[in-house]
Structure formats: structure tokens, C-alpha cells
Symmetry: C2
Subunit: 434 residues, 2 copies
């Protein structure tokens, strides 16, 4: 029977209530029944508490792992317990039992649980620290991204994900039946964040973007979460690169400080400072790859193997397996990329981290006339972009920006082999549920 | 000519550079040319600075409002200037001119600018404080929402907006052509946030949701930004209501503290404490409306007029024009609503603020068996919800939550007549761009 006048106390605060009777609510995380005494570890959103009752009494309760329970009892200081205290149970109530047929429990070792089961039983997998911590780290990355940029005078914006046309000319778009018309899911907030520069000078947005990627790979999703920023009055892509160095260094320092123990389960070293991550020109990268690995098949882009090799080369030189590659051939970058010199390169960069591209960014064209001519050069019709081009008549400053894939960044921070492990509910060509 | 070794200084920091030569970049916000001297107020993302040059020299520059400019000059303490200093201009460079044919300028009074022009020229309207501050306030609301919940042990989650079926049975859904299948845009993260409770106990999500609302009104959008939260181990909807009282009070206090002057332009009083906002039962509301206004046509829901009248009645009683209406007839609430007593009411509430519903929330069903029977009662087939129902076998605790429409909340905070004014790029049946 519940004692109505007692308030629920979080497991993480129980120690402050020693000698008092309190109510704890949570999940049965561990159960250990000895001859005379049974130990029940209950977990809630703040931590765990070990609760104790006579085994004879426990046998009547039919309690099992992952049941949602409410326990009433007295808190006793117990230095041997992890939380410094234990509860002597007076009363135990099952609020909602777990099924008898779960494929695993929240306290199971998940090594033997396949990736499919982890996704099919997402909530249970997340109740386990091994999976749950991925999303705690991810939320912390997101929080630090926002906090750093706010401190740098960036304004958070929210822009529409339903658009009349794609930003980059129409491929890989998901079509929506929008009343009597066809609309599309936004591939990127690129145009809107550039408009945001004309409005607020410095803007960021965190939100979903959509790519109708027909091929499933360990690095592609059809719906991913993009950390976007764009800012005005820049001198070139180096300003954007320097901002990203500072931003990632801040995020990594905060993670090291607040999640050091968790990170230690995923990686052997703490997260590095990114301040010295070098910038290599695209052609310099090709030369380095040719020298080190005899690579000769690359012309206007990198491939996954080259990305891994470049990170290894950078790691050998600087101690940090990361490199900014700047000056990709313009033909392979979007029409709004500013040119870099006269040789057909773009002021466009990627950041490669531990073998994976986690960012694309660059300096953009900021004049209507050059944008129109860039569109025409690619055989695209400027009149189709009139709503966008008009925004360049409002005193659009020179500007640049970048987009970081949150799932990829999370995966690289934690060394996850597949970006799907860093999404609660991944979407790809074949997966629409759960 | 730019002096390359000088760094750009933000307008808001110029005072710290008195007697130094600096570079300022921003937009020409005001221009005042007297016989001998011309004053150019330049604005950037941190503030404004008044810059001075000889009119004879200025005439050669062809400068105009909203041009993006770079000014080099020396900072001089000037107590009469708003920022406490002025710049004596050595050098002026137009980085990108604004068009000669703008319908208004960033410094124009926007009273005469219609709502369509404000949206067609969004960046320029946002460069004006009157519109820009709406989005600065909105970003602050978002930041406070997240900060308050994190302090209360809520975990931020990101869930998919591409779903195989609707959460509430299929009406008002936008269909997506998803490779060989049809998918839908999520109407709400409801199912996922309930799964999040089974994973993390307390979760929140901020993100877009989609409703194919065929009718345009001052309160409906097809795409809006939902502030969602859900938490476990609740005793009833009163726990959710109390959390919202605390949450909104925190947000409002922060806005009063940090945006007092801005709020003063939009409303005559500061934002109120919400701690004493009353809870009125749905039937009590009908009785009050009948007594005060002779209302007799309402049966199972409120209408906009009733919402306005209830807020006025609450305002007269408590001083705050807001009321939680609890116990709506279950027939009008989603299948997952917990029942309130035996009379067909649901543990479901709305928060009405200044005449508008800004929140829907409640206690949910948490047992698979009762969910199945609720579905059957409504003629819905539980097998279609199997992916969802299975999550209730993992030890799902009793839980509740709410969703706040960010645009509506922003509109009510600022007294905006149409929710579209609180969206950068509104979407409705007829509007897909910009």
C-alpha cells in the first residue's frame, strides 16, 4: 500500500534522506536473492539505489528484471553500497511488469545482442548504459554546439523543411503530396541559413535534413540531424575552419570534463584539442596519397579509403587523426561555392575525423550576378531560383558556413562502426520503423 | 583600401578600443548628412556604432541604407552617442550594395509594411528590431525550455519525422513517396517520446511536426515547431500541469530579466508567474461559460470564443489570463489518453493563455491491454500498432507529458495577432515559399 503523504525521491538523492522513510520509483535493474536476504537494485533517471528485503517475503512478490516498481522504505547509510546508502523495503508495488519474453534485459551485456534487436527494442537497449550513453553524449554535443555559438553571437533559427525545390538542383529529393501540389523535404537549410546571414549576420540551426539515398551504407541515412551554422563578413573559408576548430575543441573539452568515465569505455584516449588540425589543399592531399600509398585513381573527389588514409597521415604528423581538406574541384561542389583562384577549385572544405567526413563547409558566393552565372555554367536556370536570388539584393555580406552531421560526429567521438548506432530510430531505404 | 593587419571588431565592443584604429563591418542602418558632417550608423550582430565622415567625401561614396560595408577608422569616446563612442572614418568599403528598389529598409517603421512583404523580404524585415526581436525572444524561449528540463533530469531526444503511419489514426497526414513505399510526415513525436520514457524516464524533444490542415487560420500552420516532453512515474495529469507551471514561470522570469525592454514594446505588463494558474474541470468550464455568457452550444470541446472567454474569466479571478482545462471528453482526445473517472472524461488537459490554446497534455495509458481496448473501442485495429504496443511490455511506467506549440507561445508572449508572425517561413495550404 502506498503511503500517500510520502513524496517520491530520486535514487540519486536518497543519501540526503538517511533515516527517513521515502518512496523510490524506477526499474528493477539487478536482482540477487541469497538465502535470507534479497537485494534489488532500482534505477531511475538519476542513478541507482540498492534496496533490501527478506527473501522469504520477496518470494511472494514475483518481481523480475525491468519491472517498473515503487518501493517504500527507510534509507540507511551503507558505506559498502555504491550510492553510499541502502533502502530497507517496507512496501513494494509493481507499477507495470515487463514481459516474460524479452530478448534481453537492461542490465544484460549487449555484446551478444545484434544491431537489429537493439533497434527493435530501442527503449530497453537505451535503458542499458552501453546504448543509453551514446544518446547522453549526443545530447551533450548538441547542448555544447548551441552554447558555444550563442556565446559567439549566433542566433538560433528554425527554418522550413518543406520546400518547393531542392537547394542543389533536384537529385535525391523526397517528394511530398502537398495538397494539390508536389513539395519536397529539405536536403539542407543552406538557402535559409544564407538568408539568415542577411537577417542576423550569424545564425545556426539544428534539425533534420533528408536525402533520398538509395544505397544503404554504414555512413548514410535518409534522415539525419544537421548542425548548421552560417556567418557573415568573413574573409574566406579559413574563418569558417578556425571557428570549427574552436567549436569542436570546446565540445570535446566539455565532454572530457563531464563524461570522462563514459568516454573511457569507448576510446583509449581523451578527445583531442582540434586547434592544430591542419588544412591541406585538395591537390596536396592527392600528392600525399600518391607518395604514401601510390594512389592514382582520384581526380575530383576523395573516396572513403582516401579519407581514412589522410586521417592516418595527419595523425602521424600532428598526433590528431583529423585534417581539413580545402579547395575541392568546383565541379563537384554546389553552385553557391565561391571560387578558389583561377584553376577551377572551390573555397569549399571537408573536415575528416578518424577516417570519416563529418563536416562540409566553405565560403559562398554572395553576389547575385556571380550566383546567376554559376547556375548558368551548370546548365541550371536562374529564374527557378528567383526567390533565393532576390535575397542577395538586400546587402548580403560575404559569408561562409558549415554543416556537421550529428550522427557521424557522435559515431566518431565514440568509435562506433555504423552511424545507425548513433540514431534512435534510423531511416534508410528499407527501414521505416520503429 | 583595407588594412590587412587590423582585425574586425564588433560594434558592441568598440568602446573597449577607444583611441585605436579598428575595422567595423555591418549594414548601413541610418544615414544623416549635414552640411559638413555625415553620420553613418552601422549595425552588426552585437549592436550599433555611429561613424562620422566629412560630407564632401561621403558624396563620392554613393552609400545607401542596407549596404553591407566595412569601415576603418579611429574610435573616439563620445558620451552623447548611444554606444558611448564614435568612429572617425578613414576608409569605407561597400562589401555588397543593397538594391535601389527595396520595398522598405531595415530601419523603416514597419507599420506600413504588409504581412506579405514582411515574409517575401524576411531577411530585411528581421534586420529590423521589430521583427528580429520576435525571433530573438523565440530563441530564448527555446533555450530556457531546454535548460529548465535538463536541470530536471530530462534527456533530449531526436526522433524520426518520417513514419509508417500516423499516431492518431490517419487524418491530416502528409504522404511522402519513400522509394517504393508511401510514408508520412510525423504529426507528433507522441509515440517516440513515450518510448523515450521507457528508455530514459524523462525526455524532451524540440522539433517540427506536420499537420495537413486544409484551412488557413490565424492559429494553424501545416508545419510547426513543437516543444515536447514526457516523463514517467507520474501520479496523474496534475504532475504534468505542475511541471508546466514551473517551466513557464522559469521561461517568463528569464525573459523578463533578459528582454525586459524588448517585451515592453510588445506588452504593457511583464510576463506573469504561472504558479497559481488554476485548473478547471471541463464541465466546470461549460458551467462558467453558461453563467457568464449564456453559452449552450458546447458539448465535447471548446471553441476559440470559449477559449478567449475562459481566459478572461480566469484573469478576473487570478490576475493572470490563463487556465488549465482538465478532463476533456475522451471521445475528443487521442486513444492513448488515460480515463478520468467513469464518466467518459480523459486525464487530458489544455493550457489556455491569453485566449489561445498553447498546450495539450495529459496522463497516458501505460498498459498494453488498456491501449488495445482503447483502440478497439474507437474501431482501430491494434495489429496496425504492434510496433508501438510492444514497447509497453518493457516495464513502461505510468507517464504523462505535454506539447507546446512554439509559434503559439511566442505569439502569446508578444501579443501577435497571427501565429505566422512567429515563424520565419510559414507553411500553409497555399504557401510553400520563400
Amino acid at each position: 500500500m502506498t503511503i500517500a503523504h510520502l513524496a517520491r525521491v530520486f535514487a540519486g538523492s536518497a543519501l540526503h534522506h538517511s533515516e527517513n522513510r521515502i518512496i523510490v520509483r524506477g526499474w528493477v535493474f539487478r536482482l540477487r536473492s541469497l538465502a535470507s536476504t534479497t537485494f534489488i537494485v532500482v534505477r531511475d533517471c538519476t542513478g541507482e539505489i540498492q534496496c533490501v528485503m527478506a527473501t522469504a517475503r520477496f518470494r511472494q512478490q514475483q518481481l523480475k528484471l525491468d519491472d517498473a516498481v515503487e518501493l517504500t522504505g527507510r534509507i540507511r547509510i551503507e558505506p559498502r553500497a555504491r550510492s553510499g546508502c541502502e533502502m530497507d523495503i517496507d512496501d513494494l508495488r509493481v507499477l507495470n511488469p515487463a514481459s516474460h519474453k524479452l530478448p534481453f534485459n537492461a542490465s544484460s551485456r549487449l555484446d551478444a545482442v545484434g544491431p537489429e534487436a537493439r533497434i527493435e527494442y530501442r527503449p530497453l537497449a537505451c535503458r542499458n548504459h552501453e546504448v543509453g550513453d551514446i544518446f547522453r553524449i549526443q545530447a551533450a554535443v548538441l547542448k555544447c554546439f548551441r552554447a558555444y555559438l550563442e556565446a559567439q553571437h549566433f542566433q538560433e533559427i528554425i527554418t522550413s523543411k518543406i520546400v518547393a525545390a531542392g537547394t542543389e538542383g533536384g537529385s535525391n529529393l523526397f517528394a511530398i503530396k502537398y495538397f494539390e501540389r508536389t513539395a519536397y523535404l529539405a536536403q539542407s537549410p543552406q538557402f535559409y541559413k544564407e538568408h539568415g546571414v542577411a537577417a542576423f549576420e550569424r545564425v545556426f540551426e539544428t534539425g533534420h535534413v533528408y536525402r533520398a539515398e538509395p544505397h544503404a551504407s554504414s555512413r548514410h541515412l535518409t534522415e539525419y540531424y544537421s548542425l548548421d551554422l552560417e556567418f557573415g563578413f568573413t574573409d574566406g573559408p579559413e574563418d569558417v575552419i578556425e571557428l570549427e576548430r574552436q567549436l569542436l575543441t570546446y565540445i570535446f573539452e566539455e565532454l572530457n570534463r563531464n563524461f570522462g568515465k563514459v568516454l573511457g569505455r569507448y576510446r583509449s584516449t581523451s578527445l583531442p584539442s582540434m586547434l592544430k588540425v591542419p588544412v591541406w589543399d585538395f591537390h596536396e592531399c592527392l600528392e600525399r596519397l600518391a607518395r604514401a600509398h601510390g594512389t592514382s585513381h582520384l581526380e575530383d573527389d576523395l573516396d572513403p579509403e582516401a579519407e581514412r588514409q589522410l586521417c592516418a597521415l595527419a595523425g602521424a604528423e600532428t598526433g590528431v587523426p583529423a585534417v581539413f581538406v580545402l579547395g575541392f574541384p568546383a565541379a563537384n561542389r554546389p553552385f553557391y561555392s565561391a571560387p578558389r583562384g583561377e584553376s577551377g577549385a572551390a573555397q569549399s572544405f571537408d573536415l575528416l575525423l578518424q577516417g570519416l567526413e563529418i563536416t562540409t563547409g566553405g565560403q559562398r558566393l554572395h553576389e547575385r550576378a556571380t550566383l546567376e552565372s554559376a547556375l548558368r555554367t551548370r546548365g541550371m536556370d536562374p529564374t527557378a531560383f528567383e526567390d533565393h536570388l532576390r535575397m542577395f539584393e538586400l546587402g548580403m555580406p560575404p559569408h561562409g558556413g558549415l554543416a556537421i552531421g550529428l550522427e557521424r560526429l557522435t559515431a566518431q567521438i565514440l568509435g562506433l562502426p555504423n552511424v545507425r548506432e548513433a540514431v534512435l530510430y534510423p531511416r534508410d531505404r528499407y527501414r521505416l520503423s520503429p
